[in-house]
């Protein structure tokens, strides 16, 4: 089963490489390419566009949880092309899908990326400040985007911008005139993932660059489910690590896990993770069924992000002072967890 393969990769590749990748600020050579070979995106795109399957948000959520359990930065790197290709698959017309999907999935992992987030504290996906205006039979894009993965190397970027009051998506070549890519961003977490702020200064694209049938609420819900599933993976990583530590660490004559103060924390962490995961799965299931999922995906992400912060904070707490030392991964998971809500648009299932 696919999820088993993803879990194996997360266990044998992502997890062991995570610490060094975080410290060095880059992934070891071949790591992301190997994750790409799992075929998560290829298996979501029909044969007619170069893939070998159909998109399923439930399967995608299961895979995203496993990958993020291994390493969130690595998971997001592997899923970056998804955030470009899946909106094209769902919101593009036939010609757009024919043009843009085969290059993404045809030849190994390539940095096709999406730009949704904007650099202000009250960023709201449905109220984008990057604006598209109609001009000479095409569009001109102006605004700022932040935390765009691999923007400096990207072949194409899927830029979300407001057109007459509704969010739309535009395929923009990285080399387009007026598109400026800033320095690599330094964040609280996700150190291994190259992220960039980009500025769009009257960037002109042809009319065909706009995804013709974009259902933005649907795309947004799919972004939310992907990130929420990843949040569950980070939570589970922290929970499992703290649980094993608590069984081994002795204090006052026995393992600290035998103290209710610790054991009850773990019981609550497990309960919160399971409840949050069920909300993610339900929203994913609704997406697959074509049922309304906007509210459930939004609440699932809020819940999963809260869970990730609570669980990873407690994981650090259970390790005590040792949790604060970077030799243990719990401090990294705590840093990654705080960013969950701002990772919207970095992955899609």
């Amino acid at each position: 089963m696919l999820v088993e393969a993803v879990r194996r990769y997360a266990t044998t590749d992502l997890r062991p490489a995570a610490h060094e990748a975080d410290e060095r600020g880059e992934f070891s050579p071949g790591l992301i390419a190997k994750g790409w070979e799992l075929g998560l995106l290829q298996g979501s795109v029909p044969e007619s566009f170069g893939g070998f399957g159909d998109r399923s948000a439930v399967s995608g959520a299961l895979a995203a949880e496993e990958l993020a359990w291994g390493d969130l930065a690595g998971a997001l790197a592997i899923l970056t092309p998804n955030a470009f290709a899946l909106p094209v698959l769902v919101g593009g017309n036939e010609a757009q899908k024919q043009e843009w999907l085969p290059p993404v999935i045809g030849s190994g992992w390539r940095p096709f990326s999406a730009a949704l987030l904007e650099p202000h504290f009250d960023f709201t996906p449905s109220e984008l400040r990057t604006v598209a205006t109609s001009e000479n039979g095409g569009f001109a894009l102006t605004g700022k985007k932040t935390q765009v993965p691999f923007a400096a190397q990207a072949d194409q970027l899927l830029v979300f911008a407001d057109l007459n009051g509704s969010p739309q998506a535009f395929v923009v070549p990285r080399t387009a005139e007026g598109l400026h890519i800033g320095d690599r961003q330094q964040l609280l977490g996700l150190h291994a993932l190259p992220l960039f702020e980009i500025t769009l200064d009257h960037v002109r694209v042809p009319v065909e660059a706009r995804l013709a049938r974009l259902d933005f609420p649907l795309i947004l819900a799919s972004f939310q489910v992907a990130i929420a599933a990843a949040a569950i993976g980070v939570s589970r990583a922290g929970f499992e690590y703290a649980l094993q530590y608590a069984k081994q660490r002795e204090a006052f004559g026995g393992p600290i896990a035998q103290k209710q103060a610790i054991a009850f924390m773990l019981a609550e962490m497990a309960t919160e993770i399971d409840g949050a995961r069920l909300m993610v799965w339900e929203a994913a299931w609704q997406l697959d069924r074509g049922l309304p999922a906007s509210k459930s995906a939004y609440l699932a992400l809020l819940g999963a992000a809260d869970t990730a912060m609570m669980v990873t904070d407690r994981a650090v707490q259970i390790l005590g002072g040792h949790g604060y030392i970077r030799e243990h991964p719990v401090e990294r998971w705590m840093r990654d967890a705080r960013g969950i809500q701002t990772f919207l648009g970095l992955a899609m299932v």
């Binding site: 009250d122 709201t124 054991a263 019981a267 497990a270 609704q286 459930s296 809020l302 819940g303």
Partner: protein, 411 residues
């Protein structure tokens, strides 16, 4: 690998839930205040109506049935969870007065032999409503059920029971108001601790078994909570639940009685969440009346305090309800639910207490007023964090399970 559950509510369940919602709206809500203020009055109007309604709908029962004959997964526990949620949305106190089963029946269902099930459960299908209860708690033994002192001594072809039981939900209805029964936990060997504990069916009218007190409570006042005295109370040998002849392995008898809790905990969670949903809906309606709409999709930095409160309540409620549905779905699919049952109850107990307490606070003098049922739901809510295992006991159960510990390692 976490278990993927079905998120689709079976159509037949949805149809009945719609029916129950009508009962909840038309009958339970209007009666809720009256029985809250007339604490020890048995709500016969509700009881008789429900008995007839449940009988008229045929298979509808408050106790889960046996496995399906054709091997398809059962839906009994899922069905029950939905019923209990909808009835508790109407009124949690009245819900506890629903005939055709109860905790005693659940215990017989979970741990009785086929003969015992036939003998004790038949009465719930009769013309008149009948009740059953569980009698576990004693004045000196609550969560520490292994410390119970009520004894069962075999004399010839009878068990002789002696002891005092308290906090028996519906005890008066099971023993005095109707020809029901209580399932009594007693020890057959006080020296053996929990290994000596067994459960016994004591039927209404059995000499030596008397209701000695009906408690006055914070909430769920429509439901009687009683003390029961067992004084040389004699029951037939066959009233001990389980197979008398089968040699139980070490601890088997106690595990048997604990299985009852695994089955009923998700139903307590469902009841809690019915109250929670009622309170949340009331809060949102009261806000809407004042023109306060809850917007979804905003980052927390742009939410009003009320929006933040309400979205957090909705997340808690949904997550607890899905944990509950998972537990009953797994039970229907014959999967062990030791940890899952406790998780659902931990979360539901927390959520209902939080939602009702916050809703009363947020609505200020309106929330605090007895003109509305919200203050009653605040009082009703708390029992769900107490009975069928306190929040702490359920945390202990989950902790032991995830850590792979027994009582010896984690006490």
């Amino acid at each position: 690998m976490p278990k993927m559950i079905s998120f689709e509510t079976p159509k037949s369940i949805l149809e009945t839930v719609t029916m129950i919602e009508t009962v909840a709206t038309e009958m339970m809500r209007p009666a809720a205040r009256y029985y809250d203020e007339h604490e020890h009055e048995t709500p016969w109007d509700y009881i008789n109506f429900m008995h007839q309604a449940l009988q008229a709908t045929g298979g509808l029962t408050m106790a889960p049935g046996p496995s399906t004959k054709d091997g398809t997964p059962r839906q009994d526990y899922q069905r029950l969870a939905h019923y209990v949620e909808a009835l508790s949305w109407g009124d949690a106190g009245l819900y506890l007065c629903t005939p055709r089963g109860g905790l005693g029946a659940a215990a017989v269902s979970a741990t009785g032999t086929p003969e015992q099930k036939a003998r004790f459960l038949e009465r719930f299908n009769g013309e008149k409503p009948v009740f059953s209860s569980m009698a576990i708690t004693e004045p000196q033994a609550g969560s520490d059920t292994a410390a119970i002192k009520t004894t069962a001594v075999r004399e010839g072809d009878q068990w002789v029971l002696n002891g005092e039981k308290i906090f028996v939900t519906g005890g008066r209805k099971s023993l005095e108001d109707t020809p029901g029964f209580v399932v009594v936990w007693a020890t057959i060997n006080p020296a053996a601790g929990r290994e000596g504990i067994r459960s016994f069916v004591v039927e209404a009218g059995t000499p030596g078994c008397t209701v000695t007190k009906v408690e006055k409570k914070l909430g769920i006042r429509a439901s009687d909570t009683t003390a029961i005295l067992l004084n040389d109370c004699r029951v037939p040998l066959g009233n001990m639940l389980g197979d008398l002849e089968a040699k139980p392995r070490s601890g088997e008898g106690y595990k048997g009685v604990l299985r009852t809790f695994e089955a009923t905990r998700p139903l307590v969670a469902a009841s809690a969440l019915g109250i929670a949903r009622a309170a949340l809906e009331f809060l949102k309606e009261a806000l809407a009346e004042q023109g306060v709409e809850i917007r979804y999709g905003l980052p927390r930095s742009r939410m009003t305090n009320l929006e933040r409160e309400v979205t957090d309540m909705e997340i808690g409620l949904r997550s607890a309800w899905l944990l509950t549905l998972r537990a009953v779905w797994m039970a229907d699919n014959k999967l062990p639910i030791n940890a899952e049952a406790s998780m659902s109850k931990i979360k539901a107990g927390d959520v209902v207490v939080q939602i009702t307490q916050r809703a009363v606070e947020l609505l200020g003098p309106v929330g605090y007023s007895r003109r509305h049922l919200l203050e009653k739901w605040f009082r009703d809510a708390k029992i769900n964090d107490l009975y069928e295992g306190t929040g702490q006991i359920n945390r202990l159960i989950v902790a032991r399970r995830i850590l792979g510990y027994g009582r010896k390692e984690l006490d």
